[in-house]
Subunit: 286 residues, 2 copies
């Protein structure tokens, strides 16, 4: 396996299925980094797609996955509960294409693709850990992935050269790529992404109109991600239910420890629990 | 009660007891807004105070509250469990001064001052809803209070002119002033400030070294306030224990609802709970 010249790595056609915040940002970043010559945006709403083309986010648009047939790489950016079907459709349209996704859960997606009765071509799961509570390609930026981590979940059957090429693609977009099993990914992200969302949402839901004046930066930061689209997050949670319910249990036990210490006026335990939290948070700022 | 000319409102000497992030920011803001002619910083660590003077944060320093005797206004910015004693000391040193504090709880502080056997002069509780997980006057800024809310908790015995003057002081620093009873303040802040801190802390404490790579902006934002000083937060929690334990219970019940819906694969309930969280968060962005 010789070293390929750098230009070989550029995809002639990159197809993005689902041109929202992530899909749009991949398009912008891939163009900015010369990762693709031509970018086709595929979706269900032709009008929105044409606006994205007009805004220079994609070069061409289509409402049909058969338009992905010339693509060297197809990135499926649809909600978690639609990924398996969209990967199958892309693989049918373009059996030779490398296919990936950006779903926040990987176990159900990778199992679903593998068990799908339709051919699944050369699929490798990805999860770029970047995003925002904002939605739509209007909020997309070419720098969304800079300095962030992308998890790749190749199967044992994945071709090593495909994995390496996909790794180089995310690398060009500015990401550090980490390989994991889909199961390890889901267990870890249950803590680092799904649990914070559940907690932020529960906290935000307690707010009443009378409290608004008194919610300062602390409340705002702690609940920011709760503004995320419930339609996108519901399938994420349902597809990682086991790991998330376990994590909610862990958090609930810790909160209950804190509540009991407070109720008992046990300053030592309150201080120790807060100190453990502080150390956990500080470990994120090396 | 005639209208006073604007310059009358300037305090000749402003004493700040506890020159940390908040005390330092009050000093910088009061100078920038012409709210005081001379600012004395009072604290326990003379060396740190002298550095704050050298940095131009305060004009004079003292390690003894008797140095507040010339002050027209004393702002006590010490931790919640020291406020009552510091107010009493300031009132002894300077019986004619208007005295306030910046504590995050008001019930125990106001009751403590009122019941204190030493004279408590003209004390009115304040809580400027501004701050940061950062500490020390080195992080102080003159703009910390701009556009924020300050809660005032006057007693029935408070002199109306004192309340109005204190209101104008915080107003000059850029704050919108709201009057409340200490009890209403504590109940409301239990939700908007103390509960988020407890939750962020519990979440951050679950993080292990292996998870660090996978904690992106969502986890970081949700746990940011957990980096706050445990020494400052322990007395805040202990002094608002009843309201906070009740709020923790509310949050725990909501999380348990969510956990059960997930475990049952109940998409409708998961979506509804997330939607309620989204609406709560959106209500903060009018």
């Amino acid at each position: 396996m010789g070293t390929r010249p750098e230009q070989d790595d550029r995809f002639d056609t990159l197809a993005i299925v689902g041109v929202g915040l992530l899909g749009g940002s991949i398009a912008l970043a891939a163009r900015a980094q010369g990762a693709a010559r031509r970018i086709v945006g595929i979706g269900r709403n032709r009008e929105r797609l044409l606006k994205a083309k007009l805004a220079g986010v994609v070069d061409d648009v289509a409402v049909d996955l058969s338009s992905a047939r010339d693509a060297g790489l197809v990135v499926v950016c649809t909600p978690v509960d639609r990924i398996v079907a969209d990967v199958a459709a892309a693989a049918s349209a373009s059996p030779a294409a490398l296919i990936t996704d950006v779903g926040s859960v990987k176990g159900s997606v990778c199992r679903g693709v593998e068990q799908s009765t339709t051919p699944h071509g050369r699929f490798i799961g990805s999860h770029p850990l970047a995003g925002s509570e904002q939605q739509g390609w209007e909020n997309a930026t070419a720098t969304l992935f800079q300095g962030r981590v992308c998890v790749l979940t190749p199967a044992e059957s994945s071709c090593a050269e495909d994995v390496a090429r996909l790794e180089r693609f995310w690398g060009k977009l500015g990401m550090t790529v980490v390989r994991m099993s889909p199961e390890d990914h889901d267990r870890t992200l249950a803590l680092t992404s799904h649990l914070p969302h559940a907690v932020a949402s529960a906290l935000a839901a307690l707010l009443t109109a009378e409290d608004l004046t008194f919610a300062a930066t602390g409340f705002r930061d702690t609940t920011r991600i709760a503004a995320g689209d419930a339609d996108l997050w519901t399938p994420i949670f349902l597809n990682n239910a086991e790991a998330v319910t376990e994590r909610i249990g862990q958090l609930a036990r810790r909160l209950e420890q804190f509540r009991q210490a407070l109720a008992a006026g046990d300053a030592g335990t309150v201080q120790r629990l807060l100190e453990e939290g502080r150390r956990g948070r500080e470990s994120l700022n090396p």
